[in-house]
Symmetry: C2
Amino acid sequence: MRNFLFKIKYDGSAFHGWQIQPNGFTVQQAVKDAVGRIFNQDVTVNGCSRTDAGVHANEFCFNCRIETEMTCERIINALNAVLPDEAVIFHCEETDTDFHARFDCKGKEYVYLIDNSPYGNPFLKNRAYHYKYPLDEKLLDREAKAFIGKHDFAAFCASGSSVEDTVREVFSFDVVRNGDMVEFRVSGDGFLYNMVRIMVGTLIDISRGKIPENNLERIIASKSRKEAGVTAPSEGLYLNKVFYEDI
Amino acid sequence: MRNFLFKIKYDGSAFHGWQIQPNGFTVQQAVKDAVGRIFNQDVTVNGCSRTDAGVHANEFCFNCRIETEMTCERIINALNAVLPDEAVIFHCEETDTDFHARFDCKGKEYVYLIDNSPYGNPFLKNRAYHYKYPLDEKLLDREAKAFIGKHDFAAFCASGSSVEDTVREVFSFDVVRNGDMVEFRVSGDGFLYNMVRIMVGTLIDISRGKIPENNLERIIASKSRKEAGVTAPSEGLYLNKVFYEDI
């Protein structure tokens, strides 16, 4: 049995998220089915995290153990041939037997895209959040720096989440504009459920004056979900990079 | 009756081209229906050109005469509210009574996108041509300069086209790479049926050695469609800009 690390891109609008569930077709299911079809093996597919329905991945990592003598290149081509077009494996490498895509993950980078054009862009349907009101990316970039560091992010966790330790470290958080596109880029050692979407939604609430400037430290300290802003919609969110120590 | 010039973006994968036809939903039909629904008027919609099924528009221009007192801003919002999401009007202005989007057009710019990544990108499905073999964009950029100028482009016109005058002027033709994306950008006073797709396909044939370098002048002079290369697929083509003298 060889253990492989794979990297996959997927258009989240075609799936009900990553994780296998009884109702709805997921990326994990698509991968498990593809491996089953090519190798005639019922494998466990370990993802680096979950992504919600509608959330995209420029780079999502998973590992699984397969009995095969194929080269990595041939494995990629064989799996892509049977995967849906909306998911494409672009990297495969053999790893240590005990490598696990989730437990060995040291950090991730997410990107959130806002189409800030007045009327929307048909090429960004389901690929960015269309928000037509003014966004001052320089203000938001300054405000976002308050997220950087090791904090208890309980205020930025979807209520109802069962996670106990809500302390996470954010490494960087930048907001830049490129024409009509406003891009939020955040990296950290881990993220709570909906954390990036709540951070972005809170920044949008600051932009429209619903939350005053210079309040993020106070909101973080409150540890209260209701002090933070709205949850930005799923279609703007991309898992962009996954970090492993030895990779 | 006021005459309006509109600019619209559309995702060509959602339509059977621009022009109204008995079988298949087209952008022109969508616009005609939207105007009918908002203004209760049966209008003639004059497009700047036709685009084939699958071909996209970052900027396509059309004009039509509407009896209304609405402002341009309100007209845009009203029409976008009833147009399919895959087509978005982003500009409207009142013009001279006799302005005609096709007859007054002085030139156009097209962009052709090739996703030159090894395995393809799910976010570019139907939005770029996935071609995984090597493309030397510097060579193609040099070769493409042979298209510039006023030539009889009969060799680059789909066979069966009924057009009589096949002389056109190409103003510029550039090929650039941005990571895995290779972009062909061509402007001219007009283009024959499939002309851009045949020019791009011929450049691809040069890249893979099927047509030798430094042969485009000879191929143009031959005026023979069979001397030129393949027709590149529709999904990579975007009408990008439309030029009018007084706009």
